[in-house]
Amino acid sequence: MSPRVNDTVLTAGLWLGAGASGSVVLLIGGFLVWEAWPAFGEIGFAGFVRDASWHPSEGRFNVVPMVMASLLAMGGALLLAGPLGLLVAVFCGWYAPRPVAVVTRRVLELLAGVPSVVYGFWGLVTLVPLLGRWRPPGASLLAGTLILAVMVLPTVALLSEAALRQVPGAQVRGAAALGLRRWAVLWRVVIPGARGGIATASLLAAGRAIGETMAVLMVCGNVVQLPGFDSGGPFAPVRTLTANIALEMGYAFGAHRSALFVTGLMLLAVVVGLVGVASRFGSPRPRKWVRQGVAVG
């Protein structure tokens, strides 16, 4: 085989592989639109936001409470796991003695690998009864938020630490040479330099949180309602978009089934939005920093 032919074959293979993986996403999107279409025709877009409640067997299809529940659980989880994850990253990269840092990193990697149903089961038998003793029924938005926070913590921590490490050594040494203390170097140079990477880490965590199904299904209670103050605020049971699909897909047909595909489409839209924002935040800045780093170093 001549090198030129080899190269052609490789290029064709790469095109094929990349094309196939890319088109899977498009196919899924197309499939969701195809399956959701009858619902838009039958119920109309207004039905999904203006109906009195979500009772598909009675022809009511309001999904707003579930969209809100998904967004609130995700936002709450990020609010908890974001700062904590960054602190863990700073600790591992800058303050912890080497063995401690290595162990912490391994534990986080383990945490990232635990299947979500295990978190859900732990939440159901430990966290929910604990909350239930305080404010019944226990299964609630808060329980879901806490479980999600634990689940996305490793994502935030590990990716943030990688981002901190990518800040060029020359800048760090430069800052140290100016006489800045360790905390000032971190706060003024390293964290601003890694801002893009940290934002990307948070957005990836957000994507994981909003897509999580099994764990929230087990601890959130799955009652379709807005978590308002009259219903108990964070202690109110809620149903997320993902839980709705998992709970009802097996028993749905006709307009109900089609309406579930609409909720899937909404999820996809939220995730596409998150990835879009992540790529805007993520890419340009670190590249510039790296280039400068190379020039200086």
């Binding site: 159901l124 239930g132 029924p137």
Partner: protein
């Protein structure tokens, strides 16, 4: 290049050959009546599933060439699966709706009831129909109103479209939006977990599964319904108010293996398995 190409061609040929081989050994039935072999997939109701699994195990032991895969998914999924070919046999814990009944035959395997279940530590051991309805309508929200502890009631209802949900709503002549629930559960096993995790919970679920769990020492308590004790005897005699059919759904033109399995499941040879799980065998 040419030699490589030949090798590739050979590899692809081998792969295709082996795939075709798999296709032949799958699904079909080889040999006479004693030599049943092949693969069966059962899909559907989580109420029927455990007993169907037991029957399938015994059937596999009798016919070593047969592999039976029993999956959940719910009654609607089971009926739809039998019609669109995703399942060889569907399982349902409700009667087929008229639009579902074409192209399939329903065989009554056994009967089950709908039981209201609380935690074994709950001092309440009976509730009238009026009290149950008031609890599910949100009019009674504390166990103290029905001679229980001073604790808020965790009312568990079931996901929309499930067989249990429909049977519950029919019995109390309520509609889904009348129910004020604290939790919505899916499969029957999930109900058991939720009640075990929460001593203030009440749920309605498959009587057979609940009784089976309670007999094995799980901390569940079955409540009488309409003053009829939730026992097998009362299901047999027909006095228990809510009876649920457990149905095997066979598509027209099913394989001989599927027919043989259903015939076996309906025979007296498996009555002990059905009764062992507190269901009532159809014959």
């Amino acid at each position: 290049m040419r030699r490589d190409g030949l090798v590739w061609l050979g590899a692809v040929g081998l792969l295709l050959g082996s795939l075709a081989g798999c296709g032949e050994s799958n699904g079909g039935v080889a040999g006479g009546d004693e030599g049943l072999s092949g693969r069966l997939t059962l899909v559907g109701s989580t109420t029927v599933r455990p007993v169907a699994s037991e029957i399938a195990k015994r059937f596999e032991a009798l016919h070593p060439g047969v592999r039976i895969d029993v999956q959940g998914g719910g009654s609607s999924q089971g009926i739809a699966g039998a019609k669109n070919g995703l399942a060889d046999v569907g399982m349902s814990s409700r009667e087929l709706k008229s639009e579902e009944a074409s192209g399939v035959t329903a065989h009554l395997l056994a009967s089950d009831g709908l039981a209201f279940v609380v935690h074994a530590d709950n001092p309440v051991s009976e509730l009238s129909n009026e009290q149950l309805e008031a609890i599910y309508r949100g009019e009674i929200d504390n166990w103290s109103a029905v001679d229980g502890n001073d604790r808020p009631i965790t009312v568990i209802t079931r996901a929309e479209g499930r067989a249990e949900t429909d049977q519950f709503l029919d019995y109390f002549e309520m509609s889904g939006s009348d129910v004020v629930a604290s939790l919505v559960a899916g499969a029957n096993q999930e109900c058991v977990k939720q009640v075990l995790a929460n001593p203030d919970a009440i749920v309605y679920m498959s009587l057979g599964l609940a009784a089976f769990e309670a007999e094995r020492g799980t901390a569940l308590k079955l409540l009488p319904l309409g003053e009829v004790a939730p026992t097998r005897e009362n299901l047999v005699s027909g006095v228990f108010p809510v009876r649920r059919p457990m149905i095997l759904v066979v598509p027209d033109g099913a394989s001989a293996l599927a027919e043989a399995f259903v015939e076996y499941a309906l025979s007296p040879a498996v009555t002990d398995l059905i009764e062992g799980q507190s269901f009532v065998a159809a014959r």
